[in-house]
């Protein structure tokens, strides 16, 4: 019984720790968007053609945050 309680405790702590990964993803997305804006303000005429690249970059940065969310979900429901 104590073992089960310890396992449940570990699950919750692990799920909470997994959420730290969101911070890294947030920095990544902010970095992409901020650099895009800095570049777009220097050369606004070239900005419109690069929005697709912007979204691809954001998607790649965001995927790793989603992975940490997935780890949290797996710990809560699958382990």
């Amino acid at each position: 019984m104590e073992l089960a309680a310890a396992a449940a405790l570990g699950k919750f702590i692990g799920a909470g720790l997994a959420c730290i990964g969101m911070g890294g993803s947030a920095m990544g997305v902010g970095n992409v968007a901020g650099n895009f804006l800095a570049g777009a303000l220097r050369n606004p005429s070239a900005a419109a053609g690069q929005t697709a690249t912007l979204f691809i970059g954001i998607a790649f940065a965001e995927a790793l945050g989603i992975f940490s969310f997935l780890v949290a979900l797996l710990l809560m429901f699958a382990v």
Binding site: A52, F55, I56, F60, A63, F69, L70, L73
Partner: protein, 256 residues
């Protein structure tokens, strides 16, 4: 997912909305059982048909409102495929447009109250991502033969680095279907779960004094999150489609 243990926490569990249930009672789920997932997928497909078949039936020179929406969607994806993947990728346009329509409609239909978001299940998105992965790999080998492998051999890098880069490229190539599917499913699941978490705080006003402060904040948060989710629903469909185009470009033109 466990159903018995969460009676002590929130009033309803934020993940309960993702459980696939048979529509007409019963407990067992077979592949032929009509469930809420199949119901909402059917709704999505009917909505796509309603827009693109019934909406454009008039074929007016001056389009009606619904016809111009259909034309805008068609032109949007057509331009995306042409810009990102190149002109010779346009023969894959029907496939990509089908993917885009299904994803964008199921994301938006899933935002209706009480609806089931089919794209929040990794089973659904993984099927689409693996289909894209297989298509792209087969097209790459058919078009370029063994030359497709030059995708992994970065010829612009110094020779000593190339084997290491090749290893990294191969790993990232095989992670593609994983990240491609989990990005969409994770975004949809997380957004809907957040809305439900705030919704669970809303009825606090009925049961405790602190609710006077919490409930209005919670309702505001639901509205804000819902607005964000409308944005995310579109952006994730866009991202899934544009990544398909990027992978297709790699398959058609593998040389760096």
């Amino acid at each position: 997912m466990a159903t018995a243990e969460h009676s002590d926490g929130l009033a309803f569990h934020p993940m309960d909305q993702f459980i696939v249930k048979p529509l007409f009672g019963g407990e067992t789920l077979n592949w032929y059982t009509p469930s809420n997932a199949t119901l909402w997928m059917a709704v999505v497909i009917l909505a796509v048909i309603a827009l693109f078949v019934l909406g454009t039936r008039g074929r007016a020179i001056v389009p009606s409102r619904i016809q111009s929406v259909a034309e805008l969607a068609y032109g949007f994806v057509h331009k995306m495929v042409e810009d990102v993947a190149g002109k010779d990728a346009l023969k894959f346009f029907p496939y990509i447009f089908t993917l885009f329509c299904f994803i964008v409609f199921s994301n938006f239909v899933g935002l209706l109250p009480k609806a089931f978001t089919t794209t929040s299940h990794i089973a659904v998105t993984a099927l689409m991502a693996v289909a894209v992965f297989l298509t792209v790999t087969i097209v790459g080998f058919v078009k370029n033969g063994a030359g497709f492998l030059s995708l992994f051999w970065v010829s612009s890098a110094p020779l000593a680095l190339r084997p290491i880069l090749a290893l990294i490229e191969i790993i990232s190539y095989f992670v593609r279907p994983v990240s491609h599917s989990i990005r969409l499913a994770g975004n949809m699941m997380a957004g809907h779960a957040v809305i439900k978490v705030f919704a669970a705080f809303a009825p606090l006003i009925l049961i405790s004094g602190i609710g006077v402060a919490v409930t209005p904040l919670s309702i505001l948060a639901i509205v804000a999150m819902y607005a964000l989710e409308i944005l995310v629903a579109f952006i994730q469909a866009y991202v899934f489609t544009i990544l398909t185009c990027v992978y297709l470009k790699d398959a058609l033109h593998p040389h760096h």
